[in-house]
């Protein structure tokens, strides 16, 4: 039981956060709760603190919308949180699509599709192209281009306000991730993920690798949705500094050898300096 808890504690916390937030949002619409109203595009805590999606706000800005104060404050709060603390944690701790794509990735591993389709035919940099395209189209068309097709807001709105045909989009993402491209949506296409990859680059919470403990079992790389960020495994004691890491902590859980763990970035730097000093001696 302890072992089970150790293997899945972060996953449990992530699902708890993701579903808990959904329940709060759902309750706001269905039963008039006021703790967290709105949806992931923009919300309001107790009707006082505004929160808004900084990427949606950015699209509005280039589309030429007049930016309201509440919107700017909400964007600032969210941006500062991920910039300073969370990194790309939105993707694995908040976004409801993550549950779908994680399910697809799990099934992919269980069905052995990963073992057959080893080569990934698409570049993970695609998301930055899509990000740029979102802004260009928003500018040309004068509307928030990604917000009109975003499956993230579609699903989230769907859960809170009614899904309509939105389930079809969810099914497409599931099948795409399952059969076409490993981590296809979250790891290759999603411009919001790309946006938070850029924003979260400098955040404090990072995964730290301790090479001395590593037995090169590579379980972490198999489970990681952004496996390129774990390039230091079995090579170097380094923090995962890439902004593309979603801080999902699956690597920490699957590691049997205590070679991965969360660390504050500064703490990690000091540690690194110490180990350098030791090796210099």
């Amino acid at each position: 039981m302890t072992r089970l808890w150790n293997k899945y504690r972060y996953l449990f916390f992530r699902r708890f956060t993701q579903i808990g937030l959904l329940v709060l949002y759902f309750g706001a619409n269905a039963w008039g709760w006021t703790l967290l109203m709105g949806n992931l595009s923009a919300s309001s805590i107790l009707g006082i603190v505004p929160l808004s999606d900084p990427f949606a706000g950015l699209q509005m800005l280039v589309a030429g919308a007049v930016m309201a104060t509440d919107l700017l404050v909400g964007m600032l709060i969210v941006t500062v949180f991920y910039l300073v603390i969370g990194g790309r944690a939105f993707c694995s701790w908040v976004c409801p699509i993550n549950i779908i794509t994680d399910a697809a990735a799990l099934l992919r591993r269980k069905l052995g599709i990963d073992a057959i389709a080893k080569r990934q035919p698409a570049s993970r940099n695609m998301r930055y192209w899509v990000l740029a395209l979102s802004l260009v189209l928003s500018f040309i068309l004068g509307i928030t281009a990604f917000e009109f097709i975003s499956p993230i807001s579609m699903l989230h709105r769907g859960i809170v306000f009614g899904l309509g045909f939105g389930w079809a989009a969810m099914l497409i993402i599931f099948i795409f991730d399952l059969f076409v491209l490993k981590n296809g949506w979250c790891g290759h296409v999603c411009p919001l993920g790309g946006f938070y990859s850029l924003v979260g680059k400098t955040s404090l919470i990072k995964v730290q690798h301790t090479v001395e403990n590593c037995t090169a079992c590579m379980k972490c790389k198999a489970v990681c949705p952004e496996s390129q960020v774990l390039h230091m495994i079995n090579k170097q004691s380094l923090a995962v500094l890439s902004g593309e890491c979603t801080n999902c902590a699956r690597c920490i859980e699957v590691c049997d050898d205590d070679a991965l763990g969360f660390s504050l970035r500064k703490f990690a730097k000091i540690k690194k300096r110490e180990s350098n000093n030791e090796s210099n001696k």
Binding site: S41, G47, M60, L71, W129, L133
Partner: protein, 257 residues
């Protein structure tokens, strides 16, 4: 292949795929926002600005105590995620405190447009305008019905009943509902109340339902309206004939006949 060539090739591929994606994407979005017959919540700014300003959070929908407002879902064939209402199902009950407007975080619902003398005033909202189809309105047939008139929250102001002699019977009166478009807020209570199978009075967006006389036609008896004539400018039409003197054009009509 050299690194430089590889890089250029990769960039070209990226641009190609992006262009293709962008084309499909923009075509889809252009199609998806083309929904002219949509009624927005009170205080909504002009549709073209609304589409870029609304962040689709649904706070207005949650604030509405009557569940009037809906968020467009996939399959509704309306701009995805934006708020609207269907008056025949649930009209806007015109709450005096307008809870849906102040909660808007982006200003897509503009408080100042529903404010008179510093206080929220739902009566100046312009969500749409009621239109009567006189061929299906039974009051125009001569049957007595004033359901819409009675339902109107601006009773006697937005809709009035005009009496007219019924020549067919010779002894009865028509009691025809007439909408005053300057007063009507487009709340849709009349559409909800209409007794016909498909409502004979219904709300349309003002842009769709109303014409515009332009500055060439003014109400000369109305001092305020008279001022508009300043905006009118002469129209100059140029044809092949206007090069010459108008009289000459009649005399040497040449190739006209």
């Amino acid at each position: 292949m050299s690194d430089r060539r590889k890089f250029i090739l990769n960039m070209a591929r990226g641009i190609g795929i992006t262009a293709l994606g962008g084309f499909v994407w923009s075509a889809y979005v252009e199609e998806a926002i083309a929904s002219p017959l949509l009624l927005r919540p009170p205080g909504a700014i002009k549709e073209v600005d609304f589409l870029k300003t609304c962040i689709k959070c649904g706070l207005c929908v949650e604030a509405c105590p009557y569940d009037t407002l809906l968020l467009a879902k996939p399959g509704d064939n309306k701009p995805l995620g934006t708020p609207y209402f269907i008056p025949r199902e649930i009209p806007c009950y015109m709450c005096p405190d307008i809870p849906c407007v102040p909660v808007c975080p982006t200003g897509a619902l503009d408080e100042s447009s529903v404010t008179t003398n510093g206080e929220l005033d739902i009566n100046v909202a312009q969500m749409g305008v009621a239109v009567v189809d006189d061929s299906s309105c039974i009051a125009f047939w001569g049957i007595q019905c004033d359901a819409c008139y009675r339902a109107c929250p601006l009773l006697g102001e937005a809709i009035s009943i005009v009496y007219e002699k019924n020549e067919r019977t010779g002894k009865h009166a028509f009691m025809k509902p007439i909408v005053h478009t300057d007063i009507c807020t487009g709340c849709g209570l009349c559409e909800k109340a209409c007794v016909t199978e498909k409502a004979a009075i219904f709300v349309l967006p003002r842009e769709v339902a109303l014409g515009r006389a332009g500055d060439y036609y003014i109400k000369g008896w109305d001092k305020e309206d008279d001022k508009r004539v300043k905006n009118a400018h002469a129209i100059k039409t140029k044809t092949r004939l206007s090069k010459e003197n108008a009289l000459d054009s009649l005399n040497d009509s040449g190739d006209l006949y």
